[in-house]
């Protein structure tokens, strides 16, 4: 019996169409648009000016606080515009536009594929480097990694969990990364272990990626303290709290962080980015993006420079199919439908999913029939139907009492509701409003 988390969960059709496609490098585009807010927390501050010449990996925006991240140029060329542009949120945010000229990398970046295993840096030095080179969580939430690595006083990390679950249907970027860059990823893991001062790391992978489990198990024999654990396929196992429950059977308290139970979770993509940052001095300026969907001609995984337009990715995968109903940034469960495909790929873009017209519409909304399916699938043990009702009535004090802030927005409730009720939309609204109330209370 494979391990998994205990409460709730659903199992949508996996549709991992691009799982067999090895990672290809997307040609460098003519221009890139690099938003300065690609992470959770304060936006970065632009430090380049119009007409500046930048190199690949050169810092263009400085971190704007403790929870923030540096932004680096992903191409070499000339800064042509610093203005507001639409990003995947649908709103205009400040971004730097760079016209590409050649591909000249910053001298400090080691540009070869040789795997360096030894790392002589101390814990503080590693954390500093991860912060400087703009590494953020690549699982989708884009939380600045150096914040996660800086363990608060009075708490100790006991175990590092590497998230290779990729529970979202369709997406395969982490899967391919584990297969093709497994060794580098494990070196990154051991660097993260050193930074956190822990002796144990567990790589959690869902059992639908048997080849990755086998590959990494073999490789991990060469590393002390790293264990690979196969997990039962269940969504949302990739959620931090669910993965901790599945792997070490501990429950993160309500409102708490994983560190409260001695665990720190990082995505496999982050582990690889940390390896590149620490061993090769390479900032986070490219990432693997899956371009997939049933109607896509060639579903593939592309190593893409940050700031490349989503439309170019789609073009590379065979163009936008005629019957496209929705283009989603991310996976089908947690991703966000784009309202134009001329938005840049950011650090958090794990995939671009194209859904044909016939499948893209939400069903007709009808009344709640009290079947309680949403309650039984909620992995956080919440009552989504109740949270939606109180949000509709704008009773946000009650929503707070009913722990709306614990919602991880996995969308299992909306997915399972037979009445097609927009449960998550309302829960997100109540989270937004309750968050506002909580902040005003603090200040």
């Amino acid at each position: 019996m494979l391990k998994t988390f205990s409460k709730g969960g659903v199992h949508p059709a996996e549709n991992k169409l691009s799982a067999e496609q090895s990672i290809k490098t997307l040609p460098i585009p003519k221009t890139v648009t690099i938003p300065i807010s690609q992470h959770i927390g304060a936006p970065a501050t632009v430090i380049v000016k119009k007409n500046d010449i930048v190199k690949v990996g050169q810092i263009i925006a400085q971190s704007g606080g403790f929870v923030s991240a540096n932004i680096h140029s992903s191409v070499s060329g000339k800064v042509t515009k610093i203005d507001s542009f639409m990003d995947s949120s649908g709103y205009k945010k400040q971004a730097v536009v760079i016209d590409v000229e050649g591909d000249e990398w910053d001298e400090s970046i080691v540009k070869n594929n040789e795997v360096i295993r030894d790392c002589n840096l101390s814990s503080e030095e590693i954390i500093k480097k991860v912060g400087e080179l703009g590494i953020v969580g690549l699982g989708g939430a884009t939380f600045p990694s150096q914040v996660k690595l800086s363990v608060p006083k009075g708490m100790t990390a006991e175990v590092l969990i590497i998230n290779g679950v990729e529970c979202e249907p369709y997406l395969t970027s982490d899967h391919r990364l584990m297969l093709e860059k497994g060794l580098e990823m494990l070196v990154g893991t051991s660097i993260l272990m050193k930074a956190l001062n822990v002796t144990k790391a567990i790589v959690g992978i869902e059992n639908n990626k048997k080849d990755a489990i086998e590959h990494l198990t073999k490789l991990s024999e060469k590393f002390s303290g790293i264990e690979v654990q196969a997990l039962k396929v269940k969504y949302p196992q990739g959620g931090e709290k669910q993965l901790i429950k599945a792997l070490i059977n501990r429950e993160v308290p309500s409102g708490g962080l994983p560190i409260a139970v001695g665990a720190v979770v990082h995505n496999v993509g982050t582990a690889y980015a940390v390896y590149e940052a620490v061993q090769k001095n390479k900032p986070l300026f490219e990432r693997v993006v899956s371009v997939t969907g049933k109607s896509v001609k060639n579903p593939s995984n592309y190593l893409t420079r940050i700031g490349t337009s989503v439309s170019e990715l789609i073009e590379a995968a065979g163009g936008l199919p005629e019957d496209t109903g929705k283009v989603i940034s991310g996976g089908p469960m947690m991703g966000k439908a784009l309202n134009t495909i001329d938005v840049p790929v950011t650090k958090g873009t794990s995939g671009v999913l194209i859904i044909p017209e016939g499948e893209s519409r939400r069903g007709k909304v009808s009344d709640c029939i009290r079947c309680s399916k949403c309650v039984s699938v909620c992995p956080m043990g919440l009552e989504p139907f109740l949270l939606m009702t109180v949000a509709e009535k704008q009773n946000y004090e009650r929503a707070e009492k009913e722990k709306t802030m614990d919602c991880i927005e996995c969308g299992s409730c909306s997915y399972t509701c037979p009445s097609n009720r927009p449960l998550l939309d309302y829960i997100r609204l109540s989270k937004f409003e309750v968050g506002k109330i909580m902040r005003s209370r603090k200040s």
């Binding site: 949120s89 649908g90 709103y91 205009k92 439908a337 309202n339 134009t340 519409r361 939400r362 909304v365 509709e392 927009p422 939309d425 309302y426 997100r428 609204l429 937004f432």
Partner: protein, 303 residues
């Protein structure tokens, strides 16, 4: 048998008398003095409990009126000057005269002038769309068309026009309580003075984008060309962030700005239809402006 009845009656009466005595002393001890004027004022109010005055209900407003030294900061928008006058009479204070106001929708991006760039099929709630998504048009400022203002209106003074997808205010029913203003997450609705003979002029757009971008997403957007500012002789129009705003206190309803607006984003309401000849004359008085406006119009039609 009859004994039981008698005993029962006696016992119950004794309990009743004792309770009455306790209640009498309790009511003496815990008596809260309430100004009888509060009741009178409340009666004079419309008792719609709409919250337009800034108080949760009419009773609270009445209490505030009685307590206040003067009524200059207190005003019931639903009752208007007449009700405030009555309230002032009851209290022996002076009421302020305010001009009648009415809600106006500052967006005219109907289906045929503001193209839909995508289909939104999520929750039908303006606040959700405004906070989490960006709606289904290219304009990030305009009306989302899901009717939260209509739901908020307690006077049936609003409805959604299905042809345009925009809310409409029924002027006669609007009490300017401001519930729709508070309900709109995009701040599109504004309370403006109803104006002389109910005539009003306002900019029906809140798009703060640069002209080109605004025009691309909506044909009737204000592009911030400032032709109206130049046309206005009374300094009533200001442009901030490529968006014109007409100050209703200064506006004299001359309609010059309406004439020069190249996109038609300045609306006039309840004016009599124009005669064609005098309009031409009026235009020729300002040949430069007309020329600019014409050029702009023609260049846009060419595009």
């Amino acid at each position: 048998m009859s004994e039981i009845v008698i005993y029962t009656i006696i016992t119950v009466s004794v309990i009743g008398i004792i309770a009455a005595i306790i209640l009498f002393f309790a009511s003496q001890k815990f008596k809260v003095y309430e100004d009888p004027k509060i009741d009178l004022v409340e009666e004079a109010l419309p008792t719609a409990n709409c919250g337009g005055c800034g108080y949760p209900g009419c009773r609270n407003f009445a209490e505030a009126c009685v307590k206040a030294d003067d009524l200059s900061n207190l005003y019931c928008p639903v009752g208007g000057n007449e009700v405030m006058k009555n309230v002032a009479e009851i209290l022996g204070k002076n009421a302020v005269d305010k001009e009648k106001q009415v809600a106006v929708i500052r967006c005219s991006g109907s289906y045929n002038v503001r193209s839909r760039t995508n289909n939104y099929d999520g929750a039908e709630n303006c606040t959700i769309v405004a906070n989490l998504y960006s709606g289904d048009t290219g304009c990030q400022f305009g009306c989302l068309g899901l009717g939260e203002c209509v739901d908020a209106c307690g006077f049936d003074a609003m409805y959604m026009d299905e042809e345009t997808g925009l809310p409409v205010v029924i002027q006669d029913k609007c009490t300017a309580c401001g519930d729709c203003v508070r309900a709109c997450p995009k701040d599109i609705i504004e309370l403006r003075n109803a104006g002389k003979k109910d005539r009003r002029i306002f900019v029906s757009c809140i798009n703060e984008e640069k002209g080109g971008i605004a025009k691309k997403s909506c044909e009737v957007a204000c592009i911030g060309c400032s032709l109206c500012v130049k046309a206005c002789n009374y300094d009533a129009i200001e442009i901030n962030n490529f968006l014109a705003y007409i100050d209703y206190e200064k506006c004299v309803l001359c309609r010059k700005c309406v004439d020069v607006c190249p996109t038609g984003s300045i609306h006039e309401i309840n004016f009599p239809a124009r005669k064609i000849k005098p309009q031409k004359k009026e235009k020729s008085e300002n040949p430069d402006l007309v020329k600019i406006a014409k050029d702009k119009n023609s260049s846009e039609t060419k595009e």
